[in-house]
Subunit: 181 residues, 2 copies
DNA sequence: AGTAATCATGTAATTAATTACATGTTTTTG
DNA sequence: CAAAAACATGTAATTAATTACATGATTACT
C-alpha cells in the first residue's frame, strides 16, 4: 500500500493524551481504538523512530528494574501543530472496505442459494459486534461526566453502535426480501 | 500493505459477468464498483498477469484496427472455483477506515470549537454522497426487472444509501448534542 | 524457586497499493 | 483534416502494512 499514513496522526493523538511507550501505543489497538483501526507493533516502532527524526515527537529513556530500557515518547510542539492541522483538513472517505458488501455485489441472482447462509453468518457477526459495543459503551461511559471527559471517544462509540444497528436492520430487511422472492 | 488481495476476487467477479480487457476492468472502478472500492490500472495489469500465471484466468488476443492489440480476459474453471470458495468463506470486517471518525475520537472536549466546522464539512460530503447514490439507484434500478437482473448490486447500493442516511442522522444528532452543551 | 504471562523493542521478508513515468492507437469532434 | 479525447497496456519508484523472526527483562502465580 501507499496510503495516507493515518497511523502517524493516531500516534500523535494518543501521545497528546499522555506520554507513553511504543508498547503502550500498540496496546491501544487491542482495546478502545482497536474498535475501528488496526496496527501492530512492527509498524509502530519504526514509525515512532521516523516521527522522532521528523521532530514530531521525542522520547525520554527510562530504566526499569536492573536493565530494562523503556522509551517514553511525548509530543513536541511541531507534533501538536501537525496534529491540529490534520484535524482541520478534509477527511478522506475512500477507505471503507467491507468484504461482505463486496461479495454481495457479485450475487446477481436473487434466488441464489448462497445468499441465505452468507446473510446468516453476517447477522451473527454483527449481532455479536453490536452487543460488544453496547457493553463497551456502558463500561466506559456509565454517566455524563465520563462522556464529557472523553467526548470524541463516546461519539465514535455511539456511531459504531448506530452503524451496527443499521447494518443489522438492513440484513433483516434483506432476509425478508429474499424470502418472498 | 499486505492485505487480503480482495482485488483478485473483484476481477474474477467482473470477468464472470463478461469477458473484458484490463482497461474495461479498470473503468469499472470509475462507475458501479467504484462506489465502494478503488483500484487503478497500474495495479490491475500486473495482477491480471499473475492471475493468468495461476490459471485463474486466460486471455484471447484481439487486433483492433491496424495495430492495436487488446487482451480479452476470461475466467477459467479454476477461477470459477476460487471465486465461489471466496464467496463462501468468512468475510473480513476489519477494513472500515473512516478518517472522520478517527479525528472525532481525538476531540475530548465537548466544547471544542473544532467540532462544529468538522461536522458541517462532513454533513456536506454525506449529503452530496447520499444524493449521488439515490440518483445512481434510480438510474440503474428503475424497475423490479432490473433489480432481479443485478440483485447483488442493487442490495449493495441500497445498503450504501441506508448507511449514508444513518450517517447523516448521526451527524445531525451530534449537532443537537453539542448545541445544548 | 521455577515457570508462565506480560512487558518491551526491534528487524526482515513479503505483499499491496499509490503515484508517476512511458508509449502508442483509435475514435470522435470541430 | 487536425486536434483532442478516449482507448489500451505496461513499468518504476515509493510507501504502507502484514507476518514472521528474534531477543531479552520483569512480574505474577503456584
Amino acid at each position: 500500500m501507499a496510503q495516507k499514513n493515518r497511523l502517524k496522526y493516531i500516534l500523535l493523538g494518543l501521545l497528546k493524551k499522555q506520554r507513553q511507550t511504543g508498547y503502550d501505543l500498540a496496546k491501544s489497538f487491542d482495546s478502545d481504538i482497536g474498535e475501528f483501526w488496526t496496527a501492530n507493533h512492527s509498524q509502530i516502532y519504526p514509525l515512532l523512530k521516523r516521527m522522532e527524526a521528523d521532530h514530531l515527537i521525542a522520547h525520554e529513556a527510562i530504566t526499569v528494574g536492573q536493565k530494562l530500557q523503556k522509551k517514553q515518547y511525548y509530543m513536541t510542539s511541531a507534533g501538536q501543530q501537525t496534529f491540529n492541522a490534520w484535524l482541520k483538513s478534509p477527511s478522506d472517505l475512500t477507505g471503507s472496505h467491507d468484504e461482505f458488501i463486496l461479495k454481495l455485489f457479485f450475487i446477481d441472482d436473487p434466488k441464489s442459494e448462497l445468499l441465505r447462509p452468507m446473510i446468516t453468518m453476517q447477522q451473527q457477526y454483527h449481532d455479536e459486534k453490536l452487543h460488544h459495543l453496547e457493553q463497551q459503551f456502558q463500561e466506559k461511559f456509565p454517566n455524563q461526566k465520563r462522556i464529557d471527559q472523553d467526548f470524541g471517544h463516546s461519539l465514535v462509540l455511539r456511531h459504531a453502535i448506530d452503524r451496527e444497528r443499521g447494518y443489522s436492520n438492513w440484513l433483516a430487511e434483506m432476509v425478508k426480501t429474499i424470502k418472498t422472492e
